[in-house]
Amino acid sequence: MKKTHIIVLVCIAAAIVVLISYTGDLTTYETIASAKEKEGKFVNLIVKLDKAQPLEYDAVKNPNYLTFTAVDTLGNNIKVVYHNNKPTDMEKSERLVLKGRVQGDHFECKDILLKCPSKYKDDPKANKNVQAAS
């Protein structure tokens, strides 16, 4: 066997090891119920903002404190605390991906990804805007 072959094999093996070890870092998407069972474990929640509950953010008191209630498709809800600024347009988003962990009674969020309505025709609100513009 030539040494280039050996090196190629070693490198490929290393790459595979790296990828396998990566799977250990991976997290999962959970529902609120299953996340509550895995308290303290880093998870991803796909939820909606519960608009019936108050969203609390006051930049005067603390620009790094946002709290709101999230509800998932199964209807469960949880209080979310996010130690950062309120993402723009959060009230408008149709879906939120929350990254963080359940701690006691609330979800301690480290990152929020917003999914905003972007397809015009599926969004009745956007159509309303058309009327407003007209």
Binding site: A59, N85, L113, V130, S134
Partner: protein
């Protein structure tokens, strides 16, 4: 039914050319394929003539579609969905082009356009390779044309046309205002009701959006040239294509690299992602083809100079183009939805996009493995002291690094295929960094030493004599960086910090060794130094990345004591950990921010670009440095009610101070509250809605407030401290001025607490009782929250990119000169 005011002609022209383009590119593919198969020269020539004619028809169609769509956008023909969804009347002229490639259709067209340009250069230059290469390119053109054709084929929608009318896409279905009251059908004059389109996404209203996509797509498009040569080579079992491909691969690497880094510069300069690189799937998807292409470029060089590594060259060029297609699939299919912040929206073309990948991947792999044995390879293995051996190792590492990145990026695809619900790791960036830092170390060192090795064999004495000077210099430079530059990124433990220092050495080594090589090894022959210059640039990019990322500091740490209610966010055990990065600034109130006192002085709305600019005043506590920054926000469109923020940066040669607005509140409510009178004497405490205040002492004619008092007046000021619930302390001094019987009140206020204090009168001289008017207005003052970062050595990164591209351009010129002389050095 006829609708009033519609311009249907441009759409019909567009559709016509879309169909013509599809047909012409398919026929061109066939004609080129026949030309490729025909051995007899005159027949071959006539097929090529036909194919060129068809390719001309294809090029004209693409150009005509381009012009038509631009016409539709620039004339605001909102009856067309593309103009309606991607533009509006208020856009500046330069952004009309950006509207063009905001949508998938326009960007496919852009890609197609570059293929045409490249195709004509190939027809002009590629001589006997024309038929094979252009066959592949024409077929790619056919696939791209099918993406924008927008017809139904056996019930399946093929492509998405940019020339469809808004009314046919169900835009007005839910809006009764557009309907005829009697019939329920669309009103004939519906267009008069549409005043404006929904506009270009505000995040994209930026000059980078005008130039970044064309360059990036030229990079994407140009990867097809090495691929097409490789396919033609496999089919004909001739391998001389390797020579003309070298400048093409350099060109492609230069363009793709520039495109990717322009994206990084855009993210850094104008988007509020808080940096230039976030290992976002969209970023990765364009970086990975670049890595494999650069690997291919290097093995191509090996083969040209030593005869080794032809098989990997084939493989790398093939896989680079396939990865471009795969990245197209990733970014356009909507599959990244939950993991990326900036993918295209789903147009429901996933199957077609997947087919686009497979239709190239499967035949290419089949051909590669079928012909693998026929591709010449040298049986004797490479000498360990040869350049080809170490370049090959470097290419292999680049390739595997790309594979690792793209595998990690493909997690959403795995979820889709296997039905799992895996999500990215907790710290996505670190998951990439902890591996890629070692790639940087290996590649950096190889970039340095390989220049001092010769092809085939290098005498140890020669190598030892040449390598010690650059090694010593690099050790000295990197040691001084490690020791004095205070790189102490310890968040990920000592192992990672050590790796950072190793990588700093490796990248400095790459810069120094290649710079010295230009001088020593090439005796300053700058024309032949393209590769070395590109390597210096690459090394500088690595240095810039390493230092700016590991020493990025948050200046806006919330140290103002504004958060005691929630505990110290930096304290151990606080799950929030780091992100207390926002600081609140009240209008006109100077706030302590570490090294600076910052003040939000004013804001103005620029009617031209519709942005609100905030003036933030920075005064350094030491050294008296003083500057203003103007971050801005732009109101979102497309149904959004918030705003998007554009950062501003103060550039120094060695660092940037980078600031962006995270939220703002404007006070425009009318103030209806009145003063309430309270009694107090010195030492008393008064409560108000958000805290309390202490009356410290009474001052008569205080010198420091003399400017408030007119000549001849006697003044009386109350020295008070307001302490808000969150622990902030504000000194405040309301007063009165007396002149005879005239009494003038001098109220003082705490803007951030919306508190106004007035010293009314002295109630009782003996007991020292005073009357103080307290007004708490319901409305708070204007305020913003912002984040401020410091990026050191970021300019080294940008400089490195420029140098690297310059090196590529030099080496392209060098290769073209050589190929003009016909000097093929395959042994």
């Amino acid at each position: 039914m006829n609708y009033i005011g519609e311009h249907l002609l441009p759409g019909q022209i567009g559709h016509f050319f879309a169909v013509l383009s599809l047909v012409a590119s398919l026929l061109a593919t066939i004609a080129y394929a026949l030309a490729f198969r025909t051995r007899e020269l005159t027949d071959k020539q006539s097929w090529i003539r036909l194919a060129r004619g068809l390719f001309l028809a294809e090029s004209i169609s693409v150009l005509a579609m381009f012009i038509t769509l631009y016409y539709i956008i620039s004339h605001h023909l909102f009856e067309y969905k593309y103009a309606f969804t991607h533009s509006d009347r208020s856009l500046q002229v330069e952004y009309l082009l950006a509207c063009f490639w905001e949508g998938q259709e326009g960007s496919f067209m852009l890609w197609s356009f570059w293929h045409c340009v490249l195709g004509w250069i190939l027809i002009w230059k590629s001589k006997e390779w024309e038929s094979g290469v252009m066959m592949v390119i024409s077929f790619a053109q056919f696939c791209l044309a099918s993406m924008i054709i927008g017809i139904y084929f056996f019930g399946n929608k093929v492509g998405s046309s940019p020339f469809v009318l808004s009314r046919n896409e169900g835009f007005f279905d839910q809006a009764p205002i557009f309907k005829d009251m009697m019939t329920g059908a669309l009103r004939a004059d519906y267009l008069t009701l549409i005043k404006d389109g929904s506009g270009l996404n505000t995040l994209l209203q930026n000059y980078w959006m005008v130039i970044h996509p064309p360059v990036l797509f030229l990079g994407f498009a140009s990867t097809i040239v090495p691929f097409a040569y490789a396919i033609a080579g496999l089919l004909s079992r001739k391998h001389e294509w390797i020579k003309p491909t070298l400048p093409w691969a350099s060109f492609s690497a230069a363009m793709l690299g520039t495109g990717v880094m322009m994206g990084a510069a855009w993210a850094y300069e104008s988007l509020s992602f808080g940096g230039y690189w976030a290992w976002d799937p969209v970023e990765n998807a364009s970086l990975v083809p670049w890595l494999t292409l650069v690997a291919g470029l290097h093995t191509n060089l090996i083969y040209r100079n030593s005869g080794y590594s032809l098989r990997p060259t084939y493989f790398f060029y093939i896989i680079s183009f396939i990865l471009v297609l795969y990245s197209t699939f990733l970014t356009r299919s909507g599959i990244l939805g939950d993991t990326s912040v900036h993918a295209f929206t789903d147009l429901g073309m996933n199957v077609q996009l997947l087919l686009f990948v497979l239709v190239f991947l499967l035949p290419a792999l089949f051909l590669y493995f079928r012909e693998y044995k026929t591709i010449p390879a040298i049986a004797k293995e490479e000498n360990t002291y040869s350049r080809e051996f170490w370049i090959f190792i470097g290419s292999l590492v680049l390739f595997l690094s790309g594979i690792i990145i793209i595998s990690k990026t493909s997690v959403p695809v795995v979820n889709k295929v296997l039905g799992t619900n895996i999500a990215p790791p907790e710290d996505v960036e670190f998951a990439y960094n902890q591996i890629q830092i070692f790639v940087a170390i290996v590649v950096g060192i190889l970039t340095a030493i390989t220049q001092y090795l010769k092809y085939k064999d290098t005498s140890k004495a020669f190598f030892g004599k040449k390598i010690w000077v650059p090694t010593l210099i690099s050790v000295l430079i990197s040691l001084s960086i490690s020791l004095f530059a205070d790189v102490n990124y310890d968040k990920k433990g000592p192992g990672f910090l050590f790796a950072i220092h190793m990588a700093i050495f490796a990248s400095v080594y790459a810069v120094v060794a290649n710079a010295l090589y230009i001088w020593k090894g090439l005796n300053g022959k700058i024309k032949a130094a393209g590769a070395s210059v590109a390597h210096v640039g690459f090394g500088l990019v690595l240095v810039g990345i390493l230092i700016s990322s590991s020493k990025k500091t948050v200046l806006s740490w919330n140290t103002t004591g504004i958060t005691p209610l929630q505990g110290d966010p930096k304290a151990k055990g606080n799950p929030a950990g780091d992100p207390a990065e926002n600081i609140t600034l009240f209008k006109t109130v100077a706030t302590d921010m570490g090294k600076f006192m910052v003040t939000y002085t004013k804001d103005t709305l620029n009617p031209l670009d519709r942005k609100r600019y905030f003036e933030i005043d920075f005064v350094a506590k030491k050294g008296g440095e003083h500057f203003k920054l103007y971050p801005d926000v732009i109101k979102q469109n497309k149904g959004g009610e918030g705003f998007s923020a554009n950062p501003a940066a103060k550039h120094y040669w060695h660092k940037d101070i980078f600031v962006y607005i995270t939220s703002f509140q404007e006070n425009n409510r009318e103030d209806t509250t009145t003063f309430r009178n309270r009694e107090a004497k010195v030492g008393d405490t008064l409560f108000y809605g958000n805290g309390f205040m202490i009356l410290n002492k009474v001052e008569i004619n205080p010198a420091e407030l003399q400017r408030k008092v007119l000549p001849g007046e006697t003044s009386l000021f109350l020295d008070m401290t307001v302490i808000s619930k969150d622990g902030r302390r504000y000194p405040v001094k309301p007063g009165i001025a007396l002149k005879g019987m005239e009494l003038r009140s001098l109220p003082d206020s705490v803007l951030s607490q919306s508190l106004v204090l007035k010293f009314n009168r002295v109630l009782d001289q003996n007991t020292g009782k005073l009357e103080i008017g307290v007004k708490e207005s319901g409305a708070i003052t204007d305020l913003i929250t912002l984040k401020v970062y410091e990026f050191p050595m970021i300019n080294v990164l940008w400089l490195g990119v420029v140098v690297m591209v310059l090196g590529f351009v030099m080496s392209i010129r060098q290769r073209l000169r050589e190929s003009g002389r016909g000097a093929l050095r395959v042994s």
